[in-house]
Amino acid sequence: MKNDHRRCDAEALSRFLDNEGGAQETDRLRRHLETCGACRKRLAKQRLLSRLARKAVAGETARADFERLEAAVVSAVHRQRPYAWQHFTGWIPVKKVSIPLATAVLAGLVYFFVAVQRPGFRAPSAIINSFTGPISSVMIIETPETRQTILWFDENSAATDDDKAV
């Protein structure tokens, strides 16, 4: 019978210790413990073991060097986040500020290049001509001061020998 409180049940006793047996099992064990000295002793030993485990782990924890741990963690975080960025984000802690600010800076840079730097800005002003042959391509580009010719070799035909070598 499941409800037989005369039977010793060591696993149920382990649950009893943890208050996890449920009402029926707990009641059965209570009645059993009233009459069974062996189980009372088992329970006392289990309680002692729990105490020992907690103390032993606490002792281990007490001897660990947590200053070293903290330093290691913080320096690992710094390695992930470059120093300059850290100061930047420290200075502007909120995205509400940093995003519009970044946009403003970018707009300023664009204006600088477009309006101020324009005379010296050497962007190609025209592509005069281009040819593509079996081995290479040619492109002639004109900037305000110079005319440049750019040659591309067809790398596929050049690379085939390297591929074979490998």
Binding site: A10, E11, S14, R15, D18, E20, G37, A38, R40, K41, A44, K45, Q46, L48, L49, S50, L52, A53, R54, K55, A56, V57, A58, G59, E60, T61, A62, R63, A64, F66, R68, L69, E70, A72, V73, V74, A76, V77, Q80, R81, Q86, T89, G90, P93, V94
Partner: protein, 198 residues
């Protein structure tokens, strides 16, 4: 640096990458997480590395923390996972083998004894701790994790079952198994402490 935060504030600051908040997090949880890691791995350096990795993970993934559980629960869950899933690097293995020649057991930490306790009790306590580590070493890590979450973390069977993805009945049987092993190993100590009833 003696700031104090509510959990919500702390999470918000961590998401902004606030270093002060991060240090506060480390200081607040490192001991607890180390205790769990050590209970499972029984290795000081490894526990150290694991706790460090946990905090780095938190730093990287705080954006993904949905606050459905408490920060503490989340941290402990990451720690247990890290303990159970870690790949032992060859370096660590080498270190362990090296130590196993020098000193087969961890040199035990003396138990905090009340003032005036006699040296014999202290000696017995030391032996008991040694026996405890020895017995725990013989138990599979999964079972050790159950034991640690119960005894050190004080978690319920339901919580342990959920965190370790096992059945509640398995929690009960694994705990029973570990306790039986510990009892067998520490028989002499337990007999001495509990006395002879009946």
């Amino acid at each position: 640096m003696h700031r104090s935060f509510s959990e919500r504030q702390l999470v918000a600051l961590l998401r902004q990458g606030d270093e002060g908040a991060f240090r506060y997090l480390v200081r607040r949880y490192q001991k607890k997480l180390y205790a769990v890691a050590f209970g499972i791995t029984l290795d000081r350096e490894e526990s150290f590395d694991i706790v460090q990795d946990v905090f780095l993970n938190v730093y990287r993934k705080i954006g993904r923390f949905r606050q459905q559980s408490s920060l503490s629960t989340w941290l402990h869950r990451i720690t247990v996972n890290q303990c159970l899933n870690r790949k032992r690097r060859w370096k660590r293995r080498l270190r362990r083998q090296h130590r196993s020649i020098d000193s087969p057991e961890l040199d035990p930490v003396p138990l905090a004894a009340p003032d005036g306790s006699d040296p014999e009790t202290l000696y017995n306590g030391k032996l008991a701790v040694q026996g405890l580590w020895r017995a725990l070493r013989q138990v599979p890590e999964q079972a050790r994790a159950v034991f640690v979450l119960k005894e050190i973390q004080g978690m319920s069977y339901d919580e342990i079952a959920r965190d370790l993805h096992i059945k509640k009945g398995t929690v009960s049987s694994r705990l029973f198994y570990v306790r039986r092993r510990l009892k067998a190993e520490l028989q002499a100590f337990l007999e001495g402490e509990t006395g002879h009833e009946e």
